[in-house]
């Protein structure tokens, strides 16, 4: 019964999505208020039915209903309950169900928070979201239903892949999907604006908070994925440039460009076409990510050729979306007109440079990701494009971007004097250069590249902090206290600076962990000690332990620092009852300046193991940076002006720009 209710609810959601994708658009074209109003109710109804379908699948997981094929393949009666609940998105079909649920959630969120939008705009936005939902719910129902029955029912489930039995998995996919799917809102706003022929500052102001929230979720999602891979995969890697990661990184790069381009469109009315283009491209890359990850094309091009149903559906969906939105763009964009002009050195040109660099990086990742697939698909040979390519490309692209990051946010709109700004930042520049060059000495052997990385981090953070301090410092000519000034900064501004400081942390973290990590694969017998990164690791004991659904060999490793006992690590090699595959469980000691990482490799004769003993300096700075960037995104989306916009709609962008120049906020 459960499965049938779930499938029925999913089909009802599909029907509602069809209604949402057609009626409001027709209504907006005809000026029919009743039809336009359908959008909101359909969005809420869709969310309710998707919620029911999702709840049914979760119920089946929790109650071990192995008569459902998906449950039998991805769960087991011994699986701890939290992993049964998160196991819902542990496989292809279930993760799609989560995807459409999140899409339904975004649709309903737009319906709720955009009451102040003009009726036609809201109808068009919800209509476009409805069409996207038709595509994805249709994909789930027709090619990937998680509710297929298994006859006869399995007696026991095949269990969730042990790698996925981890807290990291509980939160990583929902965050990532919130980000992916969230960009459909920015896309829908752009398409709605193209249909309506009104691309103005108001449109940019409506899209901006949605884009910021989606971007923040994607940032956190990617960060969590990296954090999860770092300790689950067991060899200390945190970014592999593999196609699945690249699939999420491309929309992130493009979304970052979109976020910055929207700022120009909102404040100055420029870059409108470019912003619309970026919104379309970002969402197209989201669809590409769905295609790459969900079609099976990455596992093997040949497997894809044997069972092409899913891949062809997604490819066709992507083709329709991209082709129709680009056609619409070509038809409408000409009418948009240019915004205000700007000088060679201005906030606009800095943001333009940012956009060009980000877009080119995105294109470079796209090339490296798709080229091997194309060659393989056409039988032209098998190649792979490894990290060296991406590193060789990213370094020269990111250096100017990071250098600019310390400078660009301080530039005025329209026109600024480069000499004046550089002069004001001279001490920050010199100071961060000197300290940046000294910093690596405290981490290990000095190297110029590490110095440059540290310099860029200090430069970005230093100039961001200087800017904040200048704004909140009490001034002679003003009566305002520091407290008032802090309150008047505006969340949008604070969010921006937080995110930029987050970038600084990521840069420093990556520089030091790449430059100074110490990784040893060593044979260790009980009683032996190895020295890694200035720490002594002594294998004290080996024993058998039992978990809820596995048994494990556990090593007890005591860590010494300067001869003193510091901590004890207990890595395990787990054997899950339901799997042939053993699974190494990493043991970590996380710290502000370094992680200590111990992982069991293989058992050797004479009570010994090959162990991975790693020292990872500044690793946590990378995660902390990603968290700050995410926080910055959420904070700037919650800025007051986005909530007050209803009353100020008629205001012209030019007036706003003048006012902004006066108050000089975000």
């Amino acid at each position: 019964m459960i499965a049938e209710i779930g499938l029925f609810a999913l089909i009802l959601a599909l029907l509602l999505a069809i209604a949402q994708g057609t009626l409001p658009l027709i209504g907006a074209a005809r000026g029919d208020a009743a039809l336009m109003a359908v959008g909101r109710s359909a969005a809420y109804g869709q969310l309710v039915f998707l919620g029911i379908a999702y709840a049914m699948l979760t119920f089946a997981f929790v109650t071990d209903d192995f008569s459902i094929a998906y449950v039998a393949n991805h769960s087991n009666s011994l699986l701890p309950t939290q992993y049964k609940i998160s196991g819902v998105w542990g496989g292809h079909e279930g993760s799609l169900l989560l995807w459409v649920l999140i899409l339904g959630f975004w649709s309903a969120a737009v319906a709720t928070f955009s009451r102040s939008l003009p009726r036609e705009v809201l109808a068009r936005v919800l209509g476009v979201m409805g069409l996207i939902a038709v595509g994805f719910i249709g994909f789930t129902v027709f090619t990937s239903s998680p509710f297929e029955r298994l006859l006869p029912a399995a007696i026991e489930g095949r269990d969730l892949n042990p790698m996925l039995q981890d807290p990291g998995l509980i939160i990583h996919p929902p965050m990532l999907y919130m980000g992916y799917v969230g960009f459909s809102v920015a896309f829908a706003f752009s398409i709605a604006a193209l249909i309506g022929g009104r691309l103005d500052a108001a449109w940019a102001r409506w899209s901006r908070p949605w884009t910021a929230v989606a971007w923040a979720f994607l940032t956190v999602g990617i960060g969590l994925g990296s954090w999860w891979a770092y300790y689950v995969l067991g060899w200390g890697g945190w970014w592999f440039w593999d196609p699945v990661e690249n699939a999420s990184f491309m929309p992130w790069l493009m979304g970052t460009a979109l976020l910055h381009s929207l700022a120009v469109t909102e404040k100055r009315g420029s870059f409108k076409n470019w912003t619309v283009m970026l919104a379309i491209l970002t969402f197209s890359l989201v669809l590409l990510a769905a295609f790459l990850v969900r079609s099976g094309v990455l596992t093997s091009v040949h497997a894809f050729a044997v069972d092409p149903e899913r891949g062809v559906y997604l490819l066709a969906f992507m083709g329709i979306v991209v082709a129709s939105s680009l056609t619409l763009f070509a038809w409408r964009a000409g009418k948009v007109g240019l915004g205000g002009s700007f000088g060679l050195v201005s906030r606009e040109s800095a943001l333009l440079t940012n956009n060009v660099l980000l877009a080119v990086s995105g294109a470079a990742v796209l090339l490296g990701t798709l080229y091997p697939l194309f060659l393989d698909a056409f039988g032209l040979g098998k190649i792979s494009v490894g990290p060296p390519y991406f590193e060789a490309v990213f370094l020269p692209l990111m250096l100017p971007l990071l250098l600019l990051l310390g400078f660009g946010p301080r530039l005025r709109w329209k026109q600024d004097s480069p000499t004046e700004q550089l002069w004001r930042l001279r001490w920050i520049f010199a100071g961060s250069f000197v300290f940046g060059m000294i910093w690596p000495l405290f981490v290990g052997t000095w190297s110029f590249m590490a110095g440059i990385g540290a310099f860029l981090g200090l430069w970005i953070a230093g100039s961001a902090l200087k800017d904040v301090i200048e704004r909140i410092r009490p001034r002679a000519e003003s009566q305002q206290t520091v407290g008032t000034r802090v309150r008047r900064l505006g969340r949008s501004y604070v969010g921006m600076q937080l995110a930029h400081i987050g970038v600084a942390l990521v840069v420093v973290g990556i520089t030091f962990v790449l430059g100074y990590d110490d990784e040893r694969d060593v044979r260790m017998a009980v009683g032996e000690t190895v020295e890694v990164g200035g720490y002594g690791f002594r294998l004290e004991a080996l024993e058998e332990v039992e978990g809820p659904n596995f048994t494990a060999d556990q090593a007890t490793v005591v860590v010494y620092r300067n001869g003193e006992r510091m901590t004890t690590l207990t890595p395990q090699m787990r054997r899950y009852f339901s799997q042939e595959q053993p699974m190494a469980q990493t043991s970590l000691h996380r710290g502000f300046f370094r992680d200590l990482y111990v992982n069991m490799g293989e058992e050797l004769p004479d009570n010994a193991w090959v162990m991975r003993v790693y020292y990872k300096p500044y690793m946590n700075w990378v995660w902390a940076g990603a968290v700050l960037m995410g926080l910055g995104g959420f904070l700037s989306a919650s800025d007051r002006r986005y909530r007050l916009r209803a009353r100020r709609e008629e205001e012209l962008p030019v007036d706003r720009a003048a006012k902004d120049a006066a108050t000089a906020t975000g």
Partner: protein, 153 residues
């Protein structure tokens, strides 16, 4: 400078920047492609020395030997026609087994030994690394052309 000239300068500047970057990207791309070869390709001596590439196939039964230090491993990768000796220093993936599919990234040393700096086995119990399957398929196809029918895949 007039406004138009400035804008022209900006456009030309960004175009030049994009051109430089595109050149850079394509150059990095060409230098860092990692090609895939099968053990038969290596035997046929069409593989460049001292360049990183990937090989795939099965770990030959009975070929895995561990050196005294416990960390260096010698084994052979076969596509069922030819076997290539491989040396690897480090921890093998959990699912590395004799008779199972494997993909290794590294380069060919003097003397025909493949020095791997990365070894990948299948990710789970259900499938073989695609490149391992490809190597075996090619070897069997070549064999089929001379002897008879391929066995499958």
């Amino acid at each position: 400078m007039k406004k138009r000239q400035k804008r022209l300068l900006l456009v030309l500047g960004s175009l030049a920047g994009v051109a430089v970057v595109a050149g850079l990207v394509l150059n990095a791309f060409r230098d860092n492609l990692v090609f895939f070869y099968t053990p038969s390709d290596i035997a046929a001596e069409i593989v460049p020395l001292e360049r990183t590439f990937r090989i795939g196939g099965l770990v030959e039964d009975g070929s895995v030997r561990r050196a005294e230090d416990g960390v260096t491993v010698h084994f052979r990768v076969t596509d069922t026609a030819v076997a290539v000796p491989v040396v690897y220093h480090g921890i093998l993936p959990n699912l590395f087994r004799e008779g199972q599919g494997v993909v290794a990234v590294g380069s060919l040393q003097e003397g025909g030994v493949f020095k791997a700096n990365q070894v990948m086995a299948r990710h789970d119990e259900t499938y073989m690394p695609p490149e391992a399957a490809e190597a075996i398929m090619r070897a069997q196809r070549d064999a089929a052309q001379t002897v008879g029918h391929p066995e499958g895949y």
